[in-house]
Symmetry: C2
Subunit: 111 residues, 2 copies
């Protein structure tokens, strides 16, 4: 018989232990890693760019964020429900996240 893992909630409270973003791995397979990320006002450090070997599909579920790509001049404003596919090595940074509401992201990292 196939065992079904228990369900969980993306909106479960964060077990807060520090001042950084809270990252919870929800599923890890050889090809995919699904994470919940909760930001509380964090932004990428000045001059920092993510440059990832894997592509990432991400959706913002609560709060809000400004995402900038190195190849673009504008900041993309993401509101709840907005999703985006970030190709591998597309340099990007988080300019801001919502100052008062938790910003819940669901990220799917794909090999």
């Amino acid at each position: 018989m196939i065992e079904i893992p228990p369900s969980g909630s993306l909106f479960a409270p964060v077990a807060r232990t520090g001042t950084g973003e809270d990252i919870t791995a929800l599923l890890t397979t050889p090809n995919v890693r699904i994470e919940r990320i909760v930001s509380t006002g964090q932004a990428s450090p000045p001059g920092f760019w993510y440059d990832q070997n894997e592509s990432e599909w991400v959706v913002l579920l609560t709060g809000g964020a400004g995402l900038r790509f190195d190849s673009e001049t504008n900041v993309r404003e993401l509101k709840p429900g907005d999703y985006l596919h970030i190709p591998a090595h597309a340099r990007h940074r988080v300019e801001w996240t919502h100052p008062s509401e938790p910003t819940v992201w669901l990220a799917v990292h794909i090999r």
Copy 2:
């Protein structure tokens, strides 16, 4: 230069053309297929069980649903934010979806 695809919204209106569930492929790679599914009261037909070759990670974002596994007697009630990993060949069916609100699912099918 890496081209960044445009963003979209999980809560974008459904282009309704029939009476069935609305399924939109959001990302397709060799290993992963991400879909938005919008149910409006549908349930699996009596006696029907999904039996999938791929595993599926699914989260319910709006509305509600009752999910039943063949290996369990109870119906799992899913509310917004609830996620679940459905292993390949774990027979399951949707007993009900919310009768009046759209039920938006995000499904990640994994090879």
